[in-house]
């Protein structure tokens, strides 16, 4: 089957920002001003929330989890058996990460994560989701034609490798444990963490 026939599929939603963004900025500003004026929100809290998510969450957290699993077999076993505990152990926890399941890529299986209904994502280990993860195209297509989607990311998964898709429809959040790249025996855990990409932990890239 070839769905990439260029008919209809090439003309997706616009990817660039349109003039309505000015309206969005005004809308959010009005909401903030009203909420502050009415004493519903502490203005400083907004800055602190943003700072927390931008500084303390993000893919570097997930990368350190992955690197540790690559170098410590016991940790890997723990991580795959009880992802939440093993991740909490490294100090990562919080909203949208209360229950994390780690799914392992192997020579037989490639995993990829999505949330078709909204855009659930494991915040403590990956930060907030990138824009494309929240796009209608990704949400609609990755459960129906994951190989075709992965191919757009430059990742051709051979037919003999099973693709496992994880649609985050309830409270469990998913993190992909990528395969350790060959030729990395000499690297330290920190150097290994440096190789791990966010897309590698969503499943839209290898590492």
């Amino acid at each position: 089957m070839n769905n990439n026939d260029g008919l209809g599929k090439s003309d997706g939603e616009p990817h660039t920002h349109d003039p309505s963004e000015k309206g969005a900025a005004r809308r959010v500003q009005a909401l903030e001003e009203v909420a502050i004026a009415k004493g519903l929100v502490d203005p400083q809290a907004l800055d602190e929330i943003i700072e927390y998510y931008e500084r303390e969450t993000g893919p570097r957290n997930g990368a350190s989890v992955v690197a540790k699993a690559w170098v410590e077999p016991d940790y890997k076993t723990w991580l795959l058996g009880n992802g939440t505990e093993a991740i909490n152990h490294l100090g990562f926890s919080g909203f949208q990460g209360e229950h994390i399941k780690v799914v392992e890529n192997t020579h037989e299986v490639h995993n990829v994560v999505v949330c078709t209904l909204c855009s659930c994502y494991p915040w403590p280990v990956l930060g907030l989701a990138p824009s494309w993860y929240k796009s209608s195209a990704y949400r609609s297509r990755v459960v129906r034609e994951p190989r075709s989607v992965l191919s757009e990311f430059g990742l051709e998964v051979p037919d003999e490798v099973r693709v496992e898709v994880w649609d985050s429809t309830a409270e469990v959040r998913y993190l992909v444990l990528p395969q350790r790249p060959p030729g990395t025996n000499d690297l330290t855990e920190a150097e290994l963490a440096g190789l791990v990409t966010r897309n590698g932990m969503i499943g839209t890239a290898l590492v």
Binding site: Q29, I49, T116, L128, R144, E145
Partner: protein, 220 residues
């Protein structure tokens, strides 16, 4: 709700906008995110209510608006529903009446960040509810499509899957926002083959997993 948000399997949305690789592209997106987080405890609203408010955005707007503009629309709508703000206030960007929030007060930044780091308890003891299914059971997904909020996507309704694991007891979102079903239920990871879901045109050798509450499932 059979809404536009339930888009798993839909055709026509084009290529993945891979080049949109940012979390925030503009400062107003940061503010919108933080406002939703900061206003949740005082309004109060939870994740399920906020999701439902997003799902109720008219479909043409849903597809057009930026993700964080939808968050702002949902936050506005929950604040209006609670009677804490009015559309007139949003139109002029100023306070027009006193909001009665009872004995709640704005949560401070450190308190909010502390809560965010801790997370919220979502799981109840495994034995707190009877467990109908176990790993390896074949299950038939309900064909019901309630008007209210649900976490059962359309693309698996009426399909047969295999229970891959029992995930424990969680609050049932459908019930939480006024729908039917036990308020706390076991939730299961259910695996579906791509052929089951997509028939003749399925890509080969694929398994799609969803986490589904017990109410959504019957023995097959």
């Amino acid at each position: 709700m059979d809404g536009i948000h339930d888009m798993g399997g839909m055709h026509g949305f084009g290529r993945i906008p891979i080049e949109d690789d940012y979390v925030f592209d503009s400062d107003w997106q940061r503010r919108s995110f933080a406002l939703a987080e900061a206003l949740a405890p005082i309004t109060p609203f939870g994740t399920d209510e906020h999701r439902q408010a997003i799902e109720r955005i008219p479909p043409s707007d849903y597809l057009k608006l930026d993700y964080f503009e939808k968050w702002a629309v949902a936050t506005e709508s929950l604040l209006k529903q609670a009677g804490h703000i009015s559309q007139d206030e949003l139109d002029v960007g100023a306070k027009l009446f006193h909001a009665d929030v009872g004995d709640r007060s704005p949560v401070t930044g450190p308190e909010l960040v502390q809560a965010m780091k801790q997370g919220v308890p979502l799981k109840f003891p495994d034995d707190s509810q009877p467990q109908r299914f176990s790993e390896g059971d074949v299950v038939l997904v309900s064909s019901e499509s309630p008007y209210l909020h649900t976490r059962l996507p359309r693309y698996v309704r009426g399909k047969t899957g295999l229970v891959a694991s029992a995930e424990g007891v969680f609050a049932f979102p459908d019930a939480a926002v006024g729908g039917v079903g036990a308020p706390r239920q076991h939730c299961y990871t259910v695996a579906f083959s791509s052929e089951t879901l997509w028939g003749r045109e399925a890509e080969p050798n694929e398994v799609i997993h969803l986490d589904l509450w017990e109410s959504y499932l019957e023995p097959a």
